[in-house]
Symmetry: C2
Subunit: 318 residues, 2 copies
């Protein structure tokens, strides 16, 4: 028995792009598009729609900007029912860059926000909705959200926003299944007219199980990435999710092929996954930036010292 | 708030030994003993107590046999409250090798069994109990156990065995949290006078979350291994479990040090962890032996073909 409402959104290129400045070439992204289409994944997120006035194309690859021409180079000529998604960060998008849906290869725009920026997120998402796009609001750093503020944000999203989906984002990979259950139930209680989604990070090897937990409690939009690629510890592995879901339309085999041919070689060049400093920031419910910095330096395997630096052993907390 | 009854059993050397024929030297095992003692882990399992008449010491390392003298070389001179465990497989132990507890450095003997061998397991575990050992019965391949047979085995364990703990063992890494909940609740319903334990494998990155699920539903004996080492995909990582448990006696830091110094170099030499063929056998609820064979050959990254060979694409199932 399967729940037909469940949709898989693959964010391999978008979240994976966070570890290589979004510098994937057309061939690689096209190979992913081909395989995910054959696997019958519902959405593929290709990157961020950032303003070229704020970010240099010398410093960042194509998928920091997601120009229509680049998307077309990836999708043209491949038979597919898969929809294309892009993400926007508040304050980093030039609204003039966004064409009406009818003139764009993009189907969905997702607005990433913290609880504190929810009013800005709602204003933006309503504009995208009115331009014809499917839309979501993704509430990041959910493990740090204060309960009263999260409640207010969810009520605003339910009553003031035109978003189709509200996502819970475990940015720090800090959630255990009991907290995931609590958050998804709360969200479903308040968000009655929209779908609920989950985006989990894998610092503690819990991204897949937290995604299952979210499914159990009614989330229908599920983010995942091929071979779990993504910033720091990465995300819920798509192949595991496909192995779990029962909808017969899904086919795991093209994704297995894609991992063999593209992701095993890629993993030799860039790093993500179960790496102890990322586990430590997950355990401590901290942003992975300190661990990412550690991994660039000579002390990258010096886990105990890193843990003690974050927990301030011997120091006082005021 | 923590549950004082919770005990961590580290089976790094025992389950890790399954990937190198139990060939760890005294220095390595002593380093583990030192670190786990400082971390206040409750039990350390050092290997199997197999008969030297059945297995050659040319083919297998020290921890296939766990002679008292080898255990003493590891523990002597280190201050520790940690107890020592060994495992026995039915039909592979020479009962004459087992001394009474008072003459042995071993504290606990664990009997690994399939449901079908439960009568033999009970006979053995009762002998070990009468010799003065703490004892457990570990029911392997639980994901394949038929419900009526498992029920009968659990009733027998409750009424006929002197074991202190009954373990549920997810040998194939096939359980999701709902099935873990079902099995732990069932076991706790029948096993009223003993403790319940969980030993999870990590094929689908679910060993840690299934261990948490077992804790939630009342399991108090928790198996784990340093950096998740163990056969095929390995086990629940000790460091994650220590990060989750709230008992202030536990200290994660010596384990972080141990990973840095011993397990990062070891992982370069022997393979375990999230490896797609093991994920596939977990998804399909199969023994990992086909995947282990694949990893020894030239087609080790040929995931799609491997998946199709196991699912018999196009073939008929009678």
């Amino acid at each position: 028995m399967y729940r037909e409402e469940i949709k898989i959104l693959d964010c391999t290129v978008r979240d994976g792009g966070l570890i290589n400045n979004h510098d994937f070439d057309h061939r690689f992204v096209r190979a992913i598009y081909q395989a995910l289409s054959e696997a019958h994944v519902d959405y593929m997120e290709v990157g961020y729609k950032n303003s070229r006035k704020m970010f240099s194309s010398k410093e960042f690859g194509l998928w920091k900007f997601c120009d229509d021409e680049d998307i077309k180079k990836v999708i043209d000529g491949i038979e597919s029912k898969m929809k294309i998604s892009v993400m926007v960060d508040i304050g980093r998008v030039d609204m003039g860059d966004i064409k009406p849906k009818k003139d764009s290869p993009v189907d969905m725009i997702r607005v990433a926000t913290y609880v504190k920026d929810i009013d800005k997120a709602i204003a933006m998402v309503n504009e995208f909705h009115d331009m014809g796009y499917e839309t979501t609001v993704n509430i990041m750093a959910i493990s740090k959200a204060l309960d009263n503020e999260l409640n207010e944000a969810l009520h605003q999203l339910e009553h003031e926003s035109k978003a189709d989906v509200v996502y819970i984002v475990d940015s720090f990979g800090a959630l255990y299944q009991e907290t995931t259950e609590f958050l998804i139930k709360k969200t479903r209680d308040i968000i009655k007219t929209k779908e609920v989604g989950i985006h989990a990070h894998n610092n503690q090897q819990l991204a897949f199980s937290n995604t299952i937990e979210a499914i159990i409690h009614g989330a229908n939009y599920l983010d995942s990435t091929v071979y779990g690629i993504g910033r720091a510890a990465g995300n819920c592995p798509l192949e595991l999710l496909l192995g779990f879901l029962k909808n017969p339309k899904f086919d795991i085999r093209p994704v297995l092929d894609l991992i063999s041919k593209e992701f095993i070689p890629l993993r030799e060049k860039i790093e993500w996954g179960y790496i102890i400093p990322y586990a430590i920031t997950g355990i401590l419910d901290e942003h992975p930036r300190t661990a990412m910095a550690l991994r660039q330096g000579a002390k990258k395997e010096n886990y105990r010292e890193f843990y003690e630096s974050l927990t301030g052993s011997g120091g006082e907390i005021d």
